[in-house]
């Protein structure tokens, strides 16, 4: 568990080649022009990145969550935003693969796995974020259809995705009244808000998804009515590991840049790396990332094994890795001096990108709530 297998080394080597040649050279430009590189995502799909832990019979790669943690860290070294979108997309593909019936899996998953069609996950609403159980989007049964009305907020990929997995209320019974329903992009009544202006994650669209009498067949329901909240939370366990891994990758890249810069930059007659105060700072940054990496690998292993404490470990890993990632990247700006503040160097972009990882897939306050509840329940 604490050493990559030969297979994992080969997987990571390929992802490194892909991230180095297809993501990194464009990351700053995509951020500045708010360009969502659908063609590059399709290339990623052809390499197996659209369904990393999706079963092979529907085009998935059939890999483990531990494999995925390594893959997302490496992708994020090229561009944390694109890596993060690929994580969200994978969550959608995995949900349909895991909770869909045979027809649903065959209908939607192969194109998602190939990334010839993209997926969006629709849970959060304008008035329901951390308190996801308070969501109000309704899906009302009408004959053989559900009719959806409501608004989803902060939806990654909105407007570009072909498949939306929507958590909607099929009854007024709290968490148990939520169902997961697949809504294809072409469905009449589905529309999108304007692309949000935001601090980071500019290389992917974020917008409201608006449902106005959107009618889909009941055959689009994943699992049974009322399963939605459980499906949403299960998806987030893996999403938390991936976002933590993306934070690690972005921050590791920033640290690597910083070490190279301090070796090269001279002040007061010697390279900055010779200043012990700065080396101590680098040592702290490296230690924090390695600590977080250990947590991520352990949580991924727990998820692969279905360990009883997996929810807690995923929450802990997400909190530790996303906090460490932002903190390390932010300090990388400081160590780059004025150059760190220039967009050209890419450091400030990574800091802006990693900031949101502390907020999404369950904010880090919610992570502490999840962890704390396990303690309160035990005693």
């Amino acid at each position: 568990m604490f050493q990559l297998s030969e297979d994992q080394r080969d997987l990571v080597a390929m992802v490194r080649d892909f991230a180095t040649s297809s993501l990194a050279p464009h990351a700053v430009e995509w951020d500045q022009t708010k360009h969502f590189p659908i063609d590059v995502l399709e290339e990623a799909g052809s390499l197996g990145m659209g369904g990393i832990y999706v079963q092979e019979d529907v085009g998935g790669s059939g890999l483990t969550r531990s494999d995925a943690a390594h893959i997302f860290e490496e992708l994020a070294k090229g561009d944390p935003t694109i890596a993060a979108y690929i994580s969200i997309h994978n969550m959608v593909a995995w949900m349909i693969d895991s909770f869909g019936n045979t027809d649903q899996r065959k209908k939607w998953v192969p194109d998602l796995a190939a990334m010839t069609s993209l997926g969006s996950y629709c849970l959060t609403e304008p008035d329901a974020g951390s308190d996801a159980g308070a969501l109000r989007t309704k899906a009302v049964r009408d004959g053989d259809d559900y009719v959806l009305n409501g608004v989803k907020q902060f939806i990654s990929g909105a407007g570009c995705s072909s498949v939306y997995v929507v958590m909607a209320r099929t009854s007024d019974t709290g968490n148990q009244g939520i169902s997961a329903i697949v809504v294809p992009a072409e469905t009449p009544g589905l529309s999108f808000g304007p692309n949000e202006k935001k601090m980071g994650w500019n290389a992917m669209p974020t917008a409201q998804v608006i449902f106005h009498n959107v009618r889909v067949p009941v055959g689009n329901l994943l699992g049974a009515e009322g399963d939605g909240f459980g499906i949403a939370m299960k998806g987030l366990n893996g999403g938390r590991i991936n976002m933590g891994a993306c934070s690690l990758g972005g921050a590791q890249w920033a640290l690597d840049q910083t070490v190279a810069y301090l070796k090269e930059r001279k002040a007061f007659g010697k390279p900055l790396i010779d200043q012990q105060a700065l080396v101590f700072e680098l040592a702290d940054m490296d230690t924090e990332l390695e600590t977080a990496r250990t947590m991520i690998w352990r949580a991924a292993d727990a998820l692969d094994r279905g360990a009883p404490d997996l929810v807690k470990l995923c929450a802990m890993a997400k909190r530790v890795a996303t906090d460490a990632g932002f903190s390390v990247a932010n300090r990388a700006i400081q160590l780059h001096g004025g150059y760190g503040y220039l967009s050209e160097y890419g450091i400030e972009k990574v800091v802006r990108d990693l900031r949101v990882h502390q907020i999404l897939e369950g904010s880090n306050e919610i992570m502490r709530l999840i962890i704390g509840r396990t303690l309160a329940d035990v005693h």
Binding site: E6, D7, D10, L11, M14, D17, F18, S46, L47, G48, M49, I52, E56, S61, G62, L63
Partner: protein, 256 residues
């Protein structure tokens, strides 16, 4: 159609590459070992044909035990099987010995077409494909910028100093390709995971019916020395006749 693609483990060109000055051999410990980039292009030529046609692609390497890593990469990219020519008696093999061994292996394995890179990034001999074709007694078409394979023939373009030429040959044949030939694909996740399950045949010199005691090199390295430090280049300052001086400099170096 059976295509053998020759692959070689070389030091990564991104790092410093050094010789062991005592033996005159490559110091394999001083840098990462990778599949030679040009071999990936040769493999891509074969795989592109395989994508639309019935073909078996075999990656063949001669090298130490660690060379199995690059065979795994070739298998991950899509080769069907691999052959590893592994024998302690092959250490330090020169081009003549290498061509003899590879030709024997190709004969034993059987082939319609052999595809190689035009030259390796470490040895840079550039003659191995020709030597192998000579030993096998088959046609050769080397330094191809593009390759077209059909069921019974191979053709391609070669750039020359003054233009280009088109070469055709019936099969069996040996071709070598340049950096212009093809952009290699990334192996996908499934390919990587399946690579380990694909067959890798290991042949020793005895398996090939070759004399294990024969010399691996026909020449002897008597002296090696480190590369001299770089010195400043020639600077021509224009005092009215810089053009002439520049032309003379280039002519003296046989560059024009």
């Amino acid at each position: 159609m059976k295509i053998i693609v020759l692959v070689k483990q070389v030091p990564d060109t991104w790092g410093d590459r050094t010789l062991d000055l005592r033996t005159g051999w490559l110091d394999r410990g001083s840098s990462d070992s990778v599949i030679d980039e040009i071999n990936e292009r040769a493999l891509e030529v074969a795989l592109s044909y395989q994508d639309g046609n019935d073909a078996e692609v075999v990656a063949l390497t001669m090298g130490p035990d660690s060379a199995k890593d690059i065979l795994r990469k070739a298998l991950a990219m899509g080769a069907d099987s691999a052959i590893h020519l592994l024998d302690g008696g092959l250490a330090g093999a020169d081009l003549l010995r290498t061509s003899e061994v590879i030709a024997a292996a190709a004969t034993k394995a059987g082939f319609d077409l052999i595809i190689a890179g035009n030259e390796s990034t470490d040895g840079r001999g550039g003659t191995l494909p020709s030597l192998i074709a000579g030993r096998l007694g088959v046609a050769q078409a080397t330094y191809l910028d593009s390759v077209v394979i059909t069921t019974d023939a191979v053709s391609g373009h070669r750039a020359t100093e003054n233009g280009s030429m088109t070469l055709h040959s019936p099969l069996p044949a040996v071709v070598s390709v340049t950096e212009q030939s093809a952009e290699p694909r990334f192996p996908n996740f499934k390919g990587i995971m399946r690579a380990k399950k694909k067959p890798v045949t290991v042949w020793s010199l005895a398996d090939l019916g070759l004399d294990a005691a024969a010399a691996s090199a026909h020449s002897v390295i008597t002296q090696t020395s480190p590369r001299p430090a770089r010195v400043a280049g020639t600077k021509i300052v224009d005092r009215g006749n810089a053009g002439v001086e520049l032309a003379e400099f280039l002519a003296a170096g046989r560059l024009i």
